[in-house]
Every structure is written in C-alpha cells, then in structure tokens.
C-alpha cells in the first residue's frame, strides 16, 4: 500500500512541474535543449546496437525520450551503481524540479541538434556521467530514469503494509477502475501456465496488470480520492535505501518472504517490460515468475558477453572510414622494435666488425640505420643520439607527407594469363634433337630442304655448299666456291632438283645430281646457256647482271654488280628473285634468261632486306628496314604497306595460306601480321634476347619458328582459321637449344622439314641440327 502511494506522489510532483514547463520554456537556454535532444538520438542509436537492455544506463537514457517524468538526478543514479540504476526516491525528489524543466525543453525543440561527440562508439561513455560533448565542449550529461519495477520493488518491501487491508492496492485499483469508473481496460494474464499453484494463478488473473493506464490517467485518479487508499502505506517508506529488503516480496498465503536476487529482478523486469509500459507490476505476478525461474521453468539465454578487451591501439582507419566527409588517411605506423633493437640481443644479431666496415662501403640509402649492440644492463645504455632527429623526421612524415589512398585490386596473376591450349594437345611439334649434320668447317649461313624432304642443302662461310641426306646425315655432295656462301634455295619443283646459291656477287644455279637419268638430262638442258654473252655482257652492264655457263660447278653463274644477299624462288619454279643490299630487285626467268623487272620506279632508295613470294597469288612481299611492302607482280604497283614498328627487319615468312606473315627483327621481336586485319601487327612476340636471324612457317603443320643469335630457336603453334571472325591462335611451344655461340652469332637459319613436323637449324658452330617431334 505504502509503496504505490509513495510512487504516485512522486509522479504527481513531476507532472506538476511539467505543467509549468511552457512558461519556463523561453527562459531556458536553447543550448541545453539541443543537447538533450541530441542525447536522445544517440541513446536510441545505441539501443539499436545493443539488443539487450542489460546495461541500464543506456536504457534509462533511451527512456528519457518518453519524457514521463520520474527522471532522477545525476547523483542519485550513480549512487545506485551501474548495475541497477535504482534511485532512491527521496534523493530523486530533491533534484526533480530542474531536471523536469530541462527535459521538457527537449521534447518541443525545433532546432535539429548536432552531436559533436565525435565518431566514437557510445560504449565508451558507458561508465561515464556524460554522453558526449556539446558544441561548446561541455559535457552532455546522461539522463537517467528509474524503472517502475525498481520503484515498485523498493516500495513493496514492508510486507506489513500489505497486510493492512485484505484487499491489496492493485486489486482495489482494479475494482475501482472496473466498477466505479467503468473505464475500458484489459486484464493481461501473465504466465498462467507457469504458475504452479492455483491460488496464485487465480489471483494473478484477477489482479492482472492494468493496461492503457498511462500516468496521466493515473494522476487524475489519484486526485479523485483513491490516493489515500492506495498510497497511504508507503508514506513513511522514503527512508529506505538500497538494501536487500527492497527486493523482498511477502507471500501472505504461504506465509513466506521471497527475496529476489539481483539477477531475478533483472529477468523479471525484462519479461514484463512489453506488457506494462511504465506501469506497476503486480507482486503476485512477479512472485509467480520468480518462482518459475527458480524452479527452472523459465530458461533464459545467457546474456551476450561483451568482449572485455579491445585493441587500445586498434586501427584508426576502420572508424574513420565510416564518415562520409573528408576521409582521414592514417599515417603509416613506425616499425615496432624487434629483437635486434633489444639492449641485449642474441649474438646472431650482432654484426661482426667486417660487416660493420662493409656498411661504410654501401650506399647511404642501403646502409642499415641501426647497428645492434649489446649492453650488460639497461643502465649502461647511452642516450640515443638520433632521438630528436628521428622523431622530427617522423613528425615531418606525419603531417607533411601527402597521402593518397591507393586502391589495390587483388587479382590472381594466373587469371590474367590468356587461356591457352595445353602443349600436349598441340603435338606434334619439334622438340628433341636426334640428328646432327657434321661436316662444315665454318658457320652454316643458310639451309634449304628439298621438296620431298629427303635432302637438304646448306651453305657455309667455309665456302662450300653441301648436300645432305636427311635420314642418315650423310653428306652426298660438296661444291667448293672459296667464298662465303650467303644463301641456298632449292627449286620448289621436285622434278627440277636445282639449287640456287648466292656467293658474293654471283648467283649459281647448280645441278644437285639427284634423280634418274631423265631428270638429269632435263636439268642439264636447262642449265645450259650458250656463252655468246661477251658482247651482251657489256651492253647489259646497266641492268647489272650477266648469265654465264659455269663448267666448274656444272651450272649457271649470274654475276651481279653488287654482292647478292638472298635468292628466292617463285612457287612454280620458273622465276627467282635476287636481293642485293642495293635498292634494286631483280627477277630472273631462269630459262629464257631475261625477264627483267627493275623496280627502281617503285622502290625508291629503300634498303631491302628480304623478299618472299605469295604462295598462291601474284603478289610479293619486300621487307625494307622498318616496313613490309606488298606489291602486285602483274600490275607492278604497291598494294599495301605493313608497319612493323620494329627497329630493323631481318627476316620474313609467309603462311602457306597467304594471308598471314611473320616478320623477325634485329631487336628480338617477332611480329605476326594478319593481312585481313590491319597493317599493324596482330601480335608482337618478344622472346629472343638477341637478333632474330630467321623465321619460318611450316608448309602443312600449324607451326612456325624463329631462330636467333642467342643460340636458340623457338617453336610456336600458329593456327589460322578459315573463319574470318576468328583471330589466329598463337601458342609458344618449345625453346630448342643445343647450338653453341661462335663469334657472337648463334643460330643463323631455321627451316622446317617440308613434310614432317621437324625443324632444321643451322648454327654458327658449323652444325646443322634436326629437331624431331
């Protein structure tokens, strides 16, 4: 009886003060109201964060929003401790008027306040009296409010008061409401199932908890006379202070006194919270719950444990990143001292004298900044001479160094690689060297394979041309020229086993001596020219060459006015072209001797490197130093110009289908041109560290190769699709090693076997190697 009476008095007072608020309002300084509002915001935020309202401080802060009086003074709150926040009524009453006034301001203020507390977790204020700082830097104080249950429990202690009347206060209240005032309310049965004894249940239901009864109504009620009846027993109870007796409930039917522990108080309050906001709890309901808890009928989850420890020097970046405005980039942390900075590090950290001396020779930047030393005790450590300098530099670093946040993308480098088919699937390709062709005494300058693949010919710097049997490495024939043989080329026709050889200023057409008598007769016939060239020779000086029978080598000798670089046959075997390092390109129809196409008009002072014929059309390709020009033979004009972007083109080869060419360069790059695609290279393969000496396509297999002065030859897979939408597929397959370097030159020529996926390489080490699949 006394308890509720007392409470209602309290409420009464508060409401009074509230009523006076509007008048005071103007007087109050706006700042404070702003703060209060702000504080509410912060509190609600926090409430969301912590699901349980175990930490009562925050809950009370949050409830201050509701503004239903009963706010207690700061002192009171904090005396009762953080555990429960039970306020002592008397004390709270003292400070009540101001408090209420302050609070009222907050609710009606229109200015949107800003919390200047900073971007810190509210937890940090958990144990503090304030919740943040206002714009002037003053502390914003926490507003606490007492829970109904707490105050009820505080008042309910003296059970004798309860016994004064057979009708308990809440029951009387109930009767009063229902019968005399006929107000609409509902009875909320609490935990009927949980109450094991019937009597209690019945009482529980009867007494119930009154809902829809806000304090205002209650206030009015107390004014019309019920106050006396209900409140009287608690009138003298104001002297109670936070003792255990407050949590005692006397059960008059069983004649026993039940004392609630701290935990139980908390739990019960949590359970009843949603049922009766800020209203009284029926002691019997509470008792039922308490009993149920004690008997283990109600089980609670363990309250979530807050991590007790946190990183004091945790990453600042994580908190600053959340802010929308100007992002703060934390300075990099200085390195933590390690073992070697210890005053007495292990011996292995101590550098020897030689090492220390060697530091002196090092560059200033590479030199270690700190040399570990041993001291027997901390006492003997001298002052650190660089202390000021170091911290100065650190400071400079902290505030002068511009920092930029770098977005680093984590990508697996493997995933960036293009998806290439496995080498195994691209077999066969040349990989192993089984055969060597030995016999030359100088670097092998050039090789050429006969159409059937039974023979190869090679020209060497020892002045010989040799003919080899591929299968057995047998040297069948040797021609001696006595001058460096620059280039050899077989006639592409199998029935005309003729070799074209360039030696100095001469081009020789040689009879290889292969084939049966019939072929030999034909070849001899072809290679026979009358020698009335003496007068013609002088006349032809302008055109720059002369045909002559060469009996020594059983062939024809064509003398040019300059040394000839290379010779290339047309696919039909009727024409061949010779290239001189001059600007002129000659075409020879080697039977009738003179079909002369001086391209001087077209090729204007361009140093030509090499030339190839298109395999099917009447087109030929001339590589100049930087570009490749494509000419039409019939129309005698330039069709296209391919820009290689290379320093110096060294070699060129055409795909058997005729639409793709590869170009090797002196800077080790290999360009693949798709003629349909563009005049720029489709792919540039930078693989050789030294000059590429030659490039070659296979006639039937999708293979191409490049050889270089670095003594290696690379084999690539290169599929050209007939579908124009699909770009050629280029896959590096194998690096063929084995040649030795000689005079800085490596592999000088490479040619594919015409029918097998084999590669011949000619080395400066006077060897020819055959790499088989």
């Amino acid at each position: 009886m006394g308890a509720s009476k007392k409470e209602s008095v309290e409420v009464d007072k508060k409401k009074n003060s509230k009523k006076t608020q509007p008048t005071k309002k103007e007087k109050h300084n706006t700042e404070e109201s702003v703060l209060a509002q702000k504080q509410e915001d912060a509190a609600t935020d926090y409430k969301e964060l912590s699901a349980d309202d175990d930490s009562e401080d925050y809950k009370s802060v949050g409830e201050s929003e509701a503004g239903d009086g009963e706010s207690s003074g700061d002192e009171g709150n904090h005396k009762s401790g953080s555990s429960e926040g039970l306020a002592i009524d008397g004390q709270s009453e003292d400070s009540e008027p101001d408090q209420g006034a302050e609070e009222s301001d907050s609710s009606e203020d229109e200015v949107a306040p800003r919390n200047t507390v900073g971007d810190v977790p509210l937890e940090w204020y958990k144990d503090e009296k304030h919740i943040g700082y206002d714009i002037a830097g003053k502390k914003i104080k926490k507003k606490e409010r007492q829970d109904k249950l707490d105050s009820f429990l505080a008042n309910v202690d003296d059970s004798k008061n309860w016994l004064l009347s057979p009708t308990r206060p809440s029951y009387l209240l109930y009767l009063f409401f229902s019968q005399y005032l006929e107000l609409s309310y509902s009875i909320v049965p609490i935990s009927v199932a949980l109450c094991e004894d019937h009597e209690l249940t019945e009482r529980g239901v009867k007494s119930g908890l009154v809902r829809g009864m806000n304090s205002g109504v209650y206030f009015e009620m107390s004014h019309i006379g019920m106050t006396y009846l209900v409140l009287r027993p608690s009138l003298g109870d104001t002297t109670f202070n936070g003792s255990k007796s407050r949590r005692k409930i006397y059960d008059e039917y069983n004649d026993e006194e039940v004392e609630l522990t701290k935990e139980e108080t908390k739990l019960v309050r949590r359970m009843l919270k949603g049922k009766t906001p800020h209203a009284d709890f029926d002691p019997y309901a509470v008792l039922g719950l308490v009993r149920a808890i004690r008997k283990g009928f109600i089980k609670f989850d363990k309250p979530k444990e807050e991590p007790r420890f946190y990183m004091l020097w945790g990453d600042d970046a994580s908190s600053s990143e959340k802010t929308g405005h100007l992002s703060y980039i934390p300075a990099p942390k200085p390195n933590m001292p390690g073992h070697e900075e210890s005053y007495n590090p292990s011996l292995e950290y101590i550098p020897t004298q030689e090492e220390i001396n060697s530091y002196q020779l090092m560059d200033e930047e590479d030199r270690p900044k700190f040399i570990p030393k041993r001291f027997t005790s901390l006492r003997s450590i001298p002052a650190y001479e660089n202390a000021v300098k170091d911290s100065f530099e650190r400071c400079l670093d902290l505030y002068l160094c511009p920092r930029v946040r770098k977005k680093r993308i984590n990508i697996d480098p493997e995933s960036l690689k293009p998806k290439l088919p496995s080498r195994k699937d691209l077999r066969p390709y040349p990989a192993t060297c089984y055969l060597e062709y030995r016999g030359h005494k100088g670097a092998v300058m050039s090789i050429s394979a006969e159409a059937s693949g039974q023979w190869i010919a090679s020209g060497s710097s020892d002045g010989t041309v040799r003919l080899w049997e591929v299968e057995t490495c047998r040297c069948i024939k040797v021609w001696e020229f006595g001058e460096v043989v620059q280039y050899v080329a077989w006639n592409p026709l199998p029935e005309l086993p003729i070799l074209a050889v360039t030696v100095g200023q001469d081009v020789f057409l040689l009879n290889s001596g292969l084939g049966n008598e019939e072929i030999q007769r034909k070849v001899k016939e072809l290679l026979h020219v009358e020698t009335p060239t003496a007068p013609e020779d002088s006349g032809n000086k302008v055109s720059g060459w002369s045909w002559r029978q060469d009996d020594e080598h059983e062939g024809i000798r064509l003398r040019h006015f300059k040394s000839v670089y290379s010779v290339e046959w047309h696919r039909k075997g009727d024409y061949f072209s010779t290239v001189m390092p001059a600007d002129i390109l000659f075409f020879h129809y080697h039977l009738i001797a003179v079909l002369f196409l001086a391209l001087e008009s077209i090729v204007l002072c361009i140093v030509m490197k090499s030339i190839i014929f298109h395999p099917t059309r009447s087109i030929f390709f001339v590589s100049t130093k930087k570009n490749v020009r494509v000419y039409d033979l019939l129309k005698q004009k330039l069709i296209k110009k391919l820009e290689t972007g290379l320093r110096e083109v060294s070699s060129i080869s055409i795909h058997p289908a005729g639409d793709n060419i590869i170009v090797g360069s002196r800077d080790g790059k290999l360009c693949w041109f798709d003629m349909d695609l563009s005049s720029k290279p489709y792919k540039v393969l930078k693989c050789h560290p030294k000059d590429i000496t030659n490039v070659a396509f296979h006639r039937s297999y999708p293979l191409f190769a490049s050889c270089s002065d670095d003594c290696t030859a690379y084999v690539f897979h290169g599929t050209v699709y007939s579908d124009l939408n699909q770009n050629p597929l280029i896959v590096p397959l194998e690096i063929l090693r084995g040649h030795a370097s000689s005079d800085g030159r490596g592999v000088l020529d490479c040619k594919f076997h015409p029918r097998q996926p084999w590669l011949f390489t000619a080395g400066a080490d006077s060897l020819i190697k055959l790499y088989c699949h």
């Binding site: 066969p428 192993t432 089984y434 055969l435 059937s452 693949g453 039974q454 299968e471 057995t472 490495c473 047998r474 084939g515 049966n516 029918r755 097998q756 088989c772 699949h773």
Partner: protein
C-alpha cells in the same frame, strides 16, 4: 627383447620356398624338390644356386649363367622386390623356370668396307650379304672373307635381300639403291677364290621415281617387293625359278662371257599405292601379305592379290624399319625417328596402341629384326651406335652390343646365334655365340 631379435632376424633373412623347373635337356635339369632360399637373392644368386645344384649331380659341371622366369617374366630385380612388384605371394612354393642366359660369347674382327654399310642380310647361313654407300654389294663368307662384289648400281645401296637360297650352290639376291633401281644378282656360293669375284646384275628393275628404300623377297623367291621415296610399293617378278631349270647353262655362260652377259630389264608387276610418304621398309612373310612402314607414320598390311591395304596402324612418328615375327609370326615390330621400339599385336582388336614399347635407345632406331626361331627375342639397332637384344618378357635389354663407333644403320641375325650389323663406321660387325633358345 628376445622376440624383437627374432623378428629382426626374420626380416633380414626372409626365405621363400622355390622349386626350379626347366625345359632344358637333362644335363641342365635339377631335382624337382622345393628348397628355401633367401628372398633377397638376385639373378646372380639364383644362378649360383642352380649351378651348385647341378654340380651336386654332376661333378664335372662347369658353371654357366642362367636367366630366371617367374610367371613368364624375366627376373631383373632382387627376388623379394620382384615378387612385391608383381604382387606374387611368397607364401606358397614358387616355381622358377630357368633358361640359359643370353651372353655375348665372341666378337669377330669387323669386316671393313670402303664406305658406310647401309644394308645387311643374314637370312642365308652360308653367307652375309651387305650393301654399301660405295654403290657395291658384298657377299661375305665369314668375318673378313669377302667372296663376291656386286657391281653395277650408280647410287648407294639402301637395302639388300636374299631372294632364293634354296639352290645348293647358286643363290639369287636383290638390292635396292638410291639410283631408283633394283637389281637382281645371282652367284655361286661354293665358288672359291682368294680374290672376291665381281658380279654384274642379271636383271635391273626400273619403275620407281625416287630412291628405293627397301626390298623384301617373297618366301618362295619368285617375287620381290620394294618401297621407295615415291610413296609406292612395287612388286616385281624375279624369274629366278624360270631360269632355275637351265641353271647349268647359265653357269657355263657366266664363266665364258661374263662381261657380255645380257642384262634383263624388268618392269613392275603391280604397284601398291596408299602411303603418302616415303615407304621406308617392306616385309613379305606370306605369299599374300606384305607389311610396309612409312614416313607417313603408318604401318600397313597389304593384300597382294587385291592390291589394297587391309589394316593400318598409326604410330605418330615416321617409321624407318619394320619386321614381323614372334608369337604366331604376327607381332609387328617397328622403329623410326624416335628412340622407342614399338611392337604391335594386330590380333588384338580395337587398339592401335603398341603392346610393347622398348625405350632404352637414345636415338633413332634404324633396324629391328625378330629372331627366326625364338618367340621372344628381337634385335634393334640405333643411331646411338648400339645394338640391343630384347626379350619380350622383360622391359630391359638382354644384351647391349656396343661394337660400333657411330650410327648403326642395319642389323640382322645370322645362323641363329650371331648378330651382324653395319654402320657409319664402315664396319660389318659379327657377334656370335648367342644362344637365345
């Protein structure tokens, strides 16, 4: 403690119960009782045991090496490891068959040629026929004893074959050359002189358009076939049997006017077309079947009458030699541009994978020959300068003959127990005394 010791002893000296059996004739037989032998014995240990067993029965026994077979496989590991590897239980009595080990007994002085020896044929026990890069064929009676020189080709000889050795003293041989012809020769083996007699071919077979790579004679000797770089196989009639009737008259004529002897020219009877590259090797074991190997990576079996290929084994590498033999005379051995000797069993359906692969060589294989009598033995020659003798029952070579200094180009069996080979070092080497049976 004591038990531990015992166990250790057990591990150290594990024993297996074995019984030695053999198919050899009585002097080689050992009693059939089973004995316990240490499990860690190698071939040498087993051989010692067998020899001591034999010595127990016969005091004058001379030790000789044996080879041992367990479940049809030659033992090449210590016994214990072998059983473990093959998953054979060591619990029951193990039957170990022993055979005489193949050992190289004697190497004859090499017979020197003037140039590379590119072909050799030892199918007739009375002589060895060789072909050489100096365009000559030679007939050797024994090591260093050249009896005949076959003169007439204008290109290096690529292949030789004995066509008919039935006659008691006159034999016919065929040679194939880079000059795109084949030549047939006839000579008398009994003819004896201190100087090798020079012979001219009695028939020239023209028809190929490129160098002829290989020649093989039919068993009866009436026909030969040849493979060439022009991708074809030509069949030729030898006419040897026709002339055999008046053998005597020819002989007389030969003596009288050797030089003026008319040279017949023959044309191809038929041509087998199908290979796309050089036909590097042909073999004609049965009248109606020709096997051929080619640089187009395939081995084909041809029906002679129909002129079509019946089967086609794709290998993936250019092949340069082929021989058929072994079990049921059906296993195809072929080697080529890689160091692996492959053996196919065409009777196994549905697979073109080789049944056996021997890969101890280190360079191209230039020749492979089955032993004519043995089911298991074959010979291979390689550019790495080695000849290897293989037994199908083990993956390791039985013997390696290292008598050549450079590439070995050809090899064959001779007289059933000798290996003859020719190579780039211009030598014909004869290694005799190998008893493979």
């Amino acid at each position: 403690m004591g038990t531990d010791m015992d166990m250790d002893g057990d591990v150290e000296e594990r024993r297996v119960q074995v019984r030695f059996i053999t198919k050899l004739k009585p002097p080689y037989k050992v009693p059939k009782t089973s004995i316990a032998i240490p499990a860690n014995l190698t071939r040498l240990g087993l051989s010692t045991i067998v020899n001591s067993l034999l010595k127990a029965g016969d005091d004058e026994w001379e030790s000789q090496p044996f080879d041992f077979l367990i479940d049809g496989e030659l033992v090449r590991l210590p016994l214990e490891q072998f059983l473990l590897a093959k998953g054979i239980s060591a619990e029951k009595v193990l039957e170990i068959e022993y055979i005489r080990a193949v050992v190289l007994q004697k190497e004859d002085e090499p017979s020197l040629h003037d140039d590379w020896v590119s072909a050799v044929d030892g199918s007739c026990p009375r002589f060895i026929l060789t072909g050489c890069y100096d365009n000559l064929g030679r007939v050797w009676k024994a090591a260093g004893e050249c009896t005949h020189i076959l003169e007439g080709h204008s290109g290096a000889i690529n292949s030789v074959s004995v066509v008919n050795s039935e006659g008691t003293d006159s034999v016919a041989v065929a040679t194939a050359s880079k000059d795109e012809t084949l030549r047939l020769w006839k000579f008398d083996t009994e003819e004896h002189s201190y100087q090798p007699s020079k012979i001219r071919a009695f028939k020239i077979l023209r028809g190929h358009n490129a160098s002829v790579q290989s020649v093989a004679a039919e068993a009866s000797g009436s026909m030969v076939c040849s493979g060439s770089w022009d991708c074809t196989i030509n069949l030729w009639r030898t006419n040897v049997s026709d002339t055999e009737g008046d053998l005597v008259s020819i002989k007389k004529r030969k003596v009288k006017n050797k030089v003026e002897e008319s040279q017949l020219e023959g044309e191809a009877l038929s041509t087998l077309v199908g290979h796309t590259q050089c036909v590097s090797s042909v073999f004609w074991p049965e009248p109606n079947t020709i096997y051929s190997a080619s640089w187009d990576h395939s081995v084909r079996r041809w029906d002679v009458e129909m002129g079509k290929d019946l089967s086609n084994i794709f290998c993936g590498k250019p092949l340069s030699c082929l021989h058929v033999g072994g079990e049921g005379s059906a296993l195809i051995a072929a080697g080529g541009s890689d160091p692996i000797l492959r053996i196919w069993d065409p009777r196994k359906p549905g697979t073109s994978a080789p049944t056996y692969q021997f890969s101890s060589h280190s360079s191209w294989i230039s020749a492979c020959k089955w032993h004519s009598k043995s089911l298991f033995h074959l010979l291979s020659a390689s550019y790495d300068g080695k000849l290897m003798l293989w037994d199908l029952r083990t993956a390791w070579p039985l013997a390696i003959i290292d008598s050549h200094e450079d590439k070995v180009l050809c090899a064959d069996w001779w007289k059933g127990d000798s290996v003859i080979s020719g190579g780039v070092d211009s030598k014909l080497c004869i290694s005799s005394g190998m008893s493979v049976l």
